[in-house]
C-alpha cells in the first residue's frame, strides 16, 4: 500500500473551524500523527474556537478565550503547521498543491476541505452600510459589542436560532432590540405555532420587540446605518443591523477546483469528494442531498473522515435525526423531527400548561415517534430523540408518552433511570456522546468531576444543556448520591465550620499552627485557604493575630481595586453618601493632578477615581487624607457603603433622620473585616429610596421606630431582606446591627455573603441570639466593639506614613 511506502504523507486542511479540527483530533487519536504531516490553513486570524459559544460571548456569559478549543500550543505540540489569517485561494488538483492568498504553495497527498458556510445576504439596498453585520464569526461579535458599547438601537433580521440568540445577546448588552422575521412565527422550521408563540411571548416579556411577517425592503442610512424599511411601510430606526437569515455552504474554492457540487460539495458515505484524494466535512458539504447546520452530524462526519484518512476503510456516514435547542438563559426549547402531522395517519399528542409555561408535542407515525417539540421543560428531549433514532415501537406508551419518560415507563423512578438505560443512549447531543462512553471513561480513568468527564469525553462541553444529566450519570457511576464533604480547598479535609471551631477551641493563633493541628496536606496552603485562614484568625484573635498581607487578595493588600489594565481605582469614604464642597474640590484636584482618566459616581453613593497608577497611590491618598478623607474600603471583604436617603431633614415623607442614622452606622462599622463584603442602607420611610431591602442590613424608618431588615442582596442572585425586628430607638438599631454583624463575622464561611448565610442557618437562629437573648446580644456587641478598636485605623494614612513602602515602588537595576 502507498501508506507503507510513504511513512509521512502530507495532509493539507483548508479551514480551521469546528469540523476540520475535530477531524484532525479524531485522526490524531487514530495515530494519524505518525502517518501524516499536517498543515492547516485558516481564513480567520485565530486558533480554532467553538463557534457555538459566540452566542454566549455576545451575551457576556463567556469570554472569547473560554471558547478556544485548540490553542496555538496544541498545534505546536502535535506537530501541526497552522497558517491562520491566510485563506487558501486555489487548489491545483493536477499538481496536488494549494496556494494561499499570501502566496504559500503547499503540496498535499490528501486534502481536507472544511470551509464551513457563509451567511446568506438578501439582495436589498443598504447591505454594505457600516453598522450592518452578520453573526458568524468573532469579528461579527466584536462589531456587535462595539455597537453595544457606543450605540443604543439594534435590529436583528431573522427569527431563527441565530437571530434569536443575537437579539438576546444584544439585549443583555443593554441595547434596545427589535427583531424582524419574514414568517408569522419564530423558528418556523423547528417549532410549531403554539411553541413559537410561547417563545415569542417570553422574549417579548424580556423586552425584545417583534416585527413578524416583516419583509425587509431596504436598509437605510447616510454613511452609517440608520434604520430598516419594511415592505408594508413599517420603519424601524437602528444603529446596528444584524443579518441572520440563513447560511449557504462555502463552496467557491471547491467549485473553482472542478469538484462535483450540488448545494454543497458532494461527498460520498466515506466523506470523499468526487476526487478520491480530496475529503470534505462540515457545513460546506452535501451528503445524499442533505446539507448541515448543526455540529452533531459534523462530529460523525469527522469520525468517518478520520478513519478513512487513517486507512481504516469501513466507516460510513449516515445522517441521523437531529435536535435543536436554543441557548437563551431561562428559555428551554427542544425540537426534533416532524413538527406536525404530515398526513391523516399521523397522530399528534400535545400537552399545554400555560400557567407553568410548558408545552409538549409528540408526533407518531405507525406506532413510532417521528417528532417532538418541547417548550419550557426539555428534560425528556434526548430520550425522545433516541426513540426516534431507534425507530422504537412506542404504541404501548401512546397515551403516556407526552408526559415524559418517568411517567411513560411507569414503575420506574422519576429522573433518568441510568441502570435501565441502554449504553448507546445519547446523553450529549452536540458531541454525540452516549451513556456507555461516559460510563466507560469514568470507570477506566477514575474520573470524579464534571470537568474531568468533559475533558475526556467532550460530553456537555459544547452547548452545555446536558450538564445536569452528565453530572447525574457521573454520580450514578461513582456510587451515587454521596454528597462529597465541602472542604475549604484541596489542601485539607476540614470544612469551614470545623476549622473555625478548632481555631477557637484549640486556641490556634497562627496559620502554621492551624495547618499543623489540622493535618494540612500542603506546607503553606494555597490561594484559596490562605485568605480564609487569615480572616478566621483575625476574627478570632483581634489585637493578637498579625494580619498576613501576603495571604490577602491584591486589592486588600494594596487598599485599592485592581482594574483590568493593572491600574487601580480609589474610592474615598463619603459617610452616608453625604459630601461637601471642600471634599469635592479635593477630589477634583486629585483628578487634575494625577490625570485621572475616569471619575465616576458609584452605585454605592460615592465617587470612584479610576485608572490610577500603582506608584501614584500613596500620593493620591496623601492628598485625599489632607482634605479629611479616608479609605472607603471599596476593595474589602468588610464594610463597604451605607447608603441613605435624605430623610426627615428635607423630605416631606421622611419619618426619621435616615441620613444621620446612616452616618452613625458607618462610623460604628467602618474598617471591620467580614467573611464577605457588607453593605448597609437606611431609608427614611417605606418608600425605601435607599433600597434598604436588598442590603446586608437595611433600616427602614417608620413613624415612631425602625424596621431592621437583614440578609438582602442585590447582586448575582437578588434576595430581599428578612425582617429581624422593629425597634424604637437609634441606640437599639446600632447595637442590634453590630451584634448581627458580629454573629456573621464569627459564624459564616469565608466568602459567604449574609444572604446565603441567613438562608442557610435560618432567621430564627439569628433572632434568638441578637433579639430575644439580651445578654447574648450584649456579648456580641461588646466583641464587635473590641475588634473595632484594632480595625479602625485608616490604611491609607498608614501607607502615606511609609508602611509597606516597597509595595508601591518598582525594583530598579543597580
Amino acid at each position: 500500500m502507498t501508506m507503507e511506502r510513504n511513512p509521512l504523507m502530507r495532509l493539507v486542511v483548508i479551514g480551521n473551524g469546528m469540523a476540520a479540527m475535530r477531524t484532525v483530533e479524531e485522526l490524531l487519536q487514530r495515530d494519524g500523527g505518525a502517518l501524516y504531516s499536517i498543515t492547516v490553513f485558516g481564513a480567520e486570524p485565530h486558533p480554532n474556537y467553538n463557534r457555538i459559544m459566540l452566542s454566549c460571548v455576545l451575551a457576556g456569559d463567556k469570554s472569547f478565550d473560554e471558547t478556544v478549543i485548540n490553542t496555538r500550543e496544541w498545534y505546536a505540540q502535535n506537530g501541526i503547521t497552522l497558517f491562520s489569517g491566510d485563506p487558501v485561494a486555489a487548489v491545483d488538483r493536477e499538481a496536488k498543491t494549494v496556494t494561499s492568498q499570501s502566496g504559500r504553495v503547499v503540496a498535499y497527498d490528501k486534502l481536507l476541505i472544511a470551509t464551513g458556510s457563509r451567511p446568506l445576504a438578501p439582495s436589498i439596498p443598504g447591505l454594505g452600510l457600516p453598522g450592518v453585520c452578520a453573526f458568524r464569526d468573532i469579528n461579527d461579535v466584536e462589531t456587535m459589542l462595539e455597537a453595544a458599547r457606543t450605540k443604543s438601537r439594534a435590529v436583528v433580521i431573522g427569527g431563527g436560532l441565530l437571530g434569536l440568540e443575537a437579539a438576546w445577546g444584544l439585549k443583555q448588552r443593554g441595547m434596545s432590540v427589535a427583531l424582524v422575521h419574514l414568517m408569522p412565527t419564530l423558528m418556523e422550521r423547528q417549532l410549531d405555532v403554539p411553541a413559537a408563540q410561547m417563545l415569542q411571548k417570553a422574549l417579548d416579556r424580556r423586552g425584545i420587540s417583534f416585527f413578524t411577517s416583516g419583509q425587509t425592503e431596504s436598509i437605510t442610512g447616510d454613511g452609517h446605518v440608520e434604520g430598516v424599511q419594511l415592505g408594508d411601510g413599517r420603519y424601524i430606526p437602528a444603529d446596528l443591523v444584524v443579518l441572520a437569515i440563513g447560511i449557504r455552504p462555502n463552496i467557491d474554492l471547491a467549485k473553482a477546483a472542478g469538484l462535483q457540487i450540488g448545494r454543497g460539495i458532494t461527498v460520498f458515505d466515506d466523506m470523499r469528494t468526487s476526487d478520491p484524494a480530496i475529503f470534505a466535512v462540515g457545513e460546506c458539504v452535501e451528503h445524499r442531498g442533505q446539507v448541515f447546520g448543526l455540529v452533531a452530524p459534523l462530529w460523525d462526519q469527522a469520525k468517518v473522515c478520520a478513519s478513512h484518512l487513517a486507512g481504516e476503510a469501513t466507516a460510513a456516514f449516515a445522517s441521523k435525526a437531529l435536535a435543536t435547542s436554543l441557548k437563551i438563559t431561562g428559555i428551554d426549547v427542544f425540537s426534533a423531527g416532524a413538527l406536525t402531522a404530515a398526513d391523516p395517519d399521523d397522530d399528534e399528542i400535545t400537552l399545554r400548561d400555560d400557567a407553568r409555561g410548558i408545552y409538549k408535542k409528540v408526533v407518531l407515525r405507525e406506532g413510532k415517534l417521528v417528532g417532538a417539540v418541547l417548550y419550557g421543560d426539555v428534560t425528556d428531549g434526548q430520550w425522545y430523540l433516541q426513540l426516534m433514532r431507534d425507530k422504537q415501537d412506542v404504541s404501548v406508551w401512546r397515551e403516556r408518552l407526552v408526559f415524559g419518560r418517568a411517567i411513560a415507563e411507569t414503575g420506574k423512578p422519576v429522573g433518568p433511570d441510568f441502570a435501565a438505560m441502554p449504553d448507546d443512549t445519547q446523553i450529549c447531543g452536540c458531541n454525540g456522546v452516549s451513556k456507555g462512553t461516559i460510563c466507560k471513561a469514568v470507570r477506566e480513568k477514575n474520573l470524579t468531576t464534571l470537568a474531568d468527564v468533559r475533558a475526556h469525553t467532550k460530553a456537555s462541553a459544547s452547548c452545555g444543556q446536558c450538564t445536569g444529566q452528565v453530572e447525574a450519570l457521573l454520580a450514578f457511576v461513582t456510587g451515587g448520591v454521596k454528597t462529597a464533604k465541602k472542604t475549604i480547598c484541596a489542601c485539607t479535609d476540614q470544612s469551614h465550620d470545623e476549622v473555625r471551631a478548632a481555631i477557637v477551641g484549640k486556641r490556634l493563633k497562627t496559620m502554621a499552627a492551624v495547618r499543623a493541628a489540622l493535618g494540612w496536606k500542603t506546607p503553606e496552603g494555597c490561594q484559596k485557604c490562605r485568605p480564609a485562614l487569615n480572616y478566621y484568625l483575625l476574627c478570632a484573635w483581634p489585637g493578637e493575630y498579625v494580619d498576613d498581607l501576603r495571604s490577602r487578595f491584591v486589592n486588600e493588600r494594596v487598599h485599592a481595586n485592581i482594574q483590568k489594565d493593572g491600574t487601580y481605582s480609589v474610592i474615598p469614604r463619603m459617610w452616608g453618601g453625604v459630601t461637601t464642597a471642600a471634599e469635592l474640590r479635593a477630589i477634583a484636584d486629585v483628578a487634575d493632578k494625577y490625570a485621572v482618566p475616569t471619575v465616576k459616581v458609584t452605585g454605592g453613593q460615592r465617587i470612584d477615581l479610576l485608572g490610577i497608577k500603582k506608584d501614584d497611590l500613596p500620593s493620591v491618598w496623601r492628598d485625599l487624607n489632607r482634605a479629611g478623607m479616608v479609605s472607603g474600603h471599596a476593595y474589602a471583604k468588610g464594610l463597604r457603603t451605607v447608603k441613605t436617603c435624605v430623610g426627615s431633614e428635607w423630605c416631606r415623607f421622611g419619618t426619621q433622620d435616615s441620613t444621620g442614622l446612616g452616618i452613625k452606622l458607618e462610623k460604628l462599622c467602618w474598617g471591620s473585616w467580614t467573611p464577605h463584603k457588607v453593605k448597609l442602607a437606611v431609608s427614611g420611610c417605606p418608600r425605601n429610596c435607599a433600597e434598604a431591602t436588598i442590603k446586608d442590613v437595611g433600616i427602614v424608618c417608620v413613624e415612631g421606630g425602625f424596621d431592621i431588615m437583614i440578609g438582602g442582596n442585590g447582586g448575582i442572585e437578588v434576595r430581599v431582606t428578612d425582617k429581624l425586628a422593629r425597634v424604637a430607638t437609634e441606640g437599639e438599631v446600632l447595637e442590634i446591627t453590630a451584634a448581627f454583624l458580629q454573629m456573621y463575622r464569627e459564624e459564616a464561611h469565608y466568602l459567604e455573603r449574609t444572604a446565603p448565610w441567613v438562608a442557610r442557618i435560618g432567621l430564627e437562629a439569628i433572632r434568638r441570639r441578637v433579639i430575644d437573648d439580651r445578654t447574648e446580644r450584649q456579648a456580641l456587641f461588646d466583641r464587635f466593639l473590641y475588634s473595632q478598636k484594632f480595625a479602625q485605623t485608616d490604611p491609607w494614612a498608614e501607607r502615606v506614613a511609609g508602611s509597606e513602602a516597597h509595595e508601591f515602588a518598582p525594583l530598579e537595576e543597580v
Partner: protein, 113 residues
C-alpha cells in the same frame, strides 16, 4: 554567546517573602517581575498572565505557584506554565542569587528575542 547581561536588581530582602516586585526595566518590551517564595527561592517571569496579561506580581504566592489577581489562573513559578486544567505559559527570565544579591539575565536593548 548571547549578548545578554546579568543585571543586579537588589538584595533578596528587598522582595517580600511570598511576594513579588516588578522591575523598572522591560524585557523585549514587556514587564518583568521577581518572585520570592516562602523558602526563599527566587524566580523571574514576564509579568503578564497568559490569559489576559494580568500582573502576576500582584497575585497570591503559595509554594512555587502564583495565582493571577485578575481571574485566578495559577502559574508555576519554575517554568511559567499554567497549572492544569488551565493552559498557557509565560516566559521565564533566568535569575541567580549571589551572596544575597539578585541578578537577572536581561538581554541588552535591541537584542533579538
Amino acid at each position: 554567546m548571547s549578548t545578554a547581561n546579568w543585571n543586579k536588581v537588589g538584595r533578596l530582602e528587598s522582595i517580600p517573602v511570598r511576594g513579588a516586585r516588578r522591575l523598572c526595566s522591560l524585557y523585549f518590551g514587556r514587564p518583568v517581575a521577581v518572585f520570592r517564595t516562602g523558602d526563599d527561592q527566587i524566580f523571574a517571569l514576564v509579568d503578564e498572565c497568559p490569559h489576559k496579561k494580568g500582573p502576576l506580581s500582584e497575585g497570591i504566592i503559595a509554594g512555587d505557584t502564583v495565582a493571577c489577581p485578575l481571574h485566578g489562573m495559577v502559574i508555576g513559578l519554575q517554568d511559567g506554565v499554567a497549572v492544569a486544567p488551565d493552559e498557557g505559559a509565560v516566559k521565564t527570565v533566568p535569575v541567580s542569587v549571589i551572596e544575597g544579591e539578585v541578578y537577572l539575565h536581561l538581554p541588552e536593548p535591541g537584542a533579538p528575542g
